[in-house]
Point group: C2
Chain length 343, copies 2
Amino acid sequence: MTVGAKETTIYDIAAKLDISAATVSRALKDHPRVNKNTKKLIVKTAAEMGYLSNSFASNLRKKSSNIIGLIVPRLNSNFMSDVIAGIEKVLNNNNYNVFISQSLETMTKEISNANDMLVNRVDGLMVSLAYDTTNINHFEPFVKRNIPVIFFDRVFEQDDYPQIYIDNFKAAYEITAHLIKQGSKRIVHITASQLRNVYSDRLAGYKKALEDNNLKFEEALVIINNLSSEAGHEAANQILKMAPLPDAVFSANDICAVSCMQTLKKNGIRLPDDLLFAGFNNDPLTCVIEPNLTTINYKGYEMGEVAAKQMISRLMNKDEFQPAHNLILKYELIVRESSLRNK
Amino acid sequence: MTVGAKETTIYDIAAKLDISAATVSRALKDHPRVNKNTKKLIVKTAAEMGYLSNSFASNLRKKSSNIIGLIVPRLNSNFMSDVIAGIEKVLNNNNYNVFISQSLETMTKEISNANDMLVNRVDGLMVSLAYDTTNINHFEPFVKRNIPVIFFDRVFEQDDYPQIYIDNFKAAYEITAHLIKQGSKRIVHITASQLRNVYSDRLAGYKKALEDNNLKFEEALVIINNLSSEAGHEAANQILKMAPLPDAVFSANDICAVSCMQTLKKNGIRLPDDLLFAGFNNDPLTCVIEPNLTTINYKGYEMGEVAAKQMISRLMNKDEFQPAHNLILKYELIVRESSLRNK
DNA sequence: CTGTTAGCGCGTTCAT
DNA sequence: ATGAACGCGCTAACAG
């Protein structure tokens, strides 16, 4: 085939073999009621002629695309990349392709992405929400069209959609209880937008652990930012101004925890002697920072697989009623030197 | 609109307003030759009726998708995520959507991804190659169909395709020369598949710097692995067995450098006193490891923008002849404590 | 400025 | 097991 040449179609194949396009179409999609030999011949000829199925025509006719949309806040985290790898594997195995986009943590872009997905007629949509998403009206058009929408990790508290996540409340409770057991009494908590379950649940778990251990919750010990590296440095400066100094920090992600630790160290704070530290996510950074950071590990790859399988299951049984149900995955607390009080 | 209900089409709108579908189509795509008022009415009615353009039909008719395919080795690096953000911005601004997939560093998946892109009829393809890709035959079908293919960062030495990258030879030369200037005479170089320009060019730059400084190149000082974190630990063990010990290490990426440093430190090697260190990419890790890692910084976001603009330019002038030309972007050497000999 | 007509390539009836 | 005919929804070509 040369530049500008016409694509070969099933009609070209049909003409060459002096049969009908319908038979070619059936043979190429492995329809049962077609002669073994003619099928073989058709497939062979198609390959020879460099035939390439036109997905537009096929999709138009079938009214489905075999494409699943994926909207995530950002692509550049170890966690998210694992999730995507897991999603891709499962969907590819089921003959679906993935359309990925990032909201860059803004609702505006998330809405725009969702509309793109709609126009591109995805068969299903998987979403992890941006920081500032206040409502999910932009996903209603999917529901109305019976296109499954599944939330993972950053979900929305609403029964209409299936959701996959971990028990952030319990994980935060455990991590806080651990810090308390190590002797901490004034624990700073750094977190992000309380619109997101992952952060509000962690804050709630932190509060409950304090309460269960007869420690008073202090608003002044909660720092809310965007959990970026820069925010971690600023948080350190805020902490340095606290009088008296707190005796522990629990950050809702590792990146922020690490940069916070760095700035504190630069200012002469000894870790973990002066201050215990804990993060969340088990980012590779946690094993590089000194002291190594205590954190919560949960497997993104598995979350991706589970979410994708859920999607496949819904697509396979579209006619049946699909009650939205939530899947809660496992996590583990990994204790490292940053949260161990030296004797 | 309710579940299962038929989508409204331009014919529905036309019927309701008692005009032709052609006019509706023109109005919705903002065609110039259509009455201001009817246009306004059509747009309003379309919105009211919940009209959604059917991209399959449109694409089928136009023989173009406004989708650009993107194949990268992995999504989970800071660098690649920046590249993607840059690409997305430029392409979205030009009304293109992005179809992302990762090859996971294998040629097999890269080929499979390319075929998916072909079937999904992308208008253009942007690629950064996997480790073990030995040829680029899988991109020829694109060229034959006059679909632009652009390589970035991990490019292929072939004139047919435009390529965007940095001068890896020069960067490696500078970093090696810097280590030599600090007094190093036996420098280990850790790198990956020599099939990829980014690694073969860096090795070549390293060799040239040795030569220009009258240092003998030793095959035994070159470690080839996959530059993963695990590979870094193993490389450290290899280095520990070298007698005498080398006096510097230049790793072709930061991740591998950092884990290598960690294992060396655990084994009692003092950095930078016993061994100088340098990496490549300016990953956030470089500022966390102690001592902070000397590295090469080059901006992924900019590379993404440049590559995407190149793509847009080619798509805009498809009829004209487009000579493949290469764009070489800037980089900078960032010297940190890991490569500074203490006096 | 607007309408008529045709066809993009495929999958799916309903025949035989 | 195969074929004829239609239509998915849209846009481009041609008229007027």
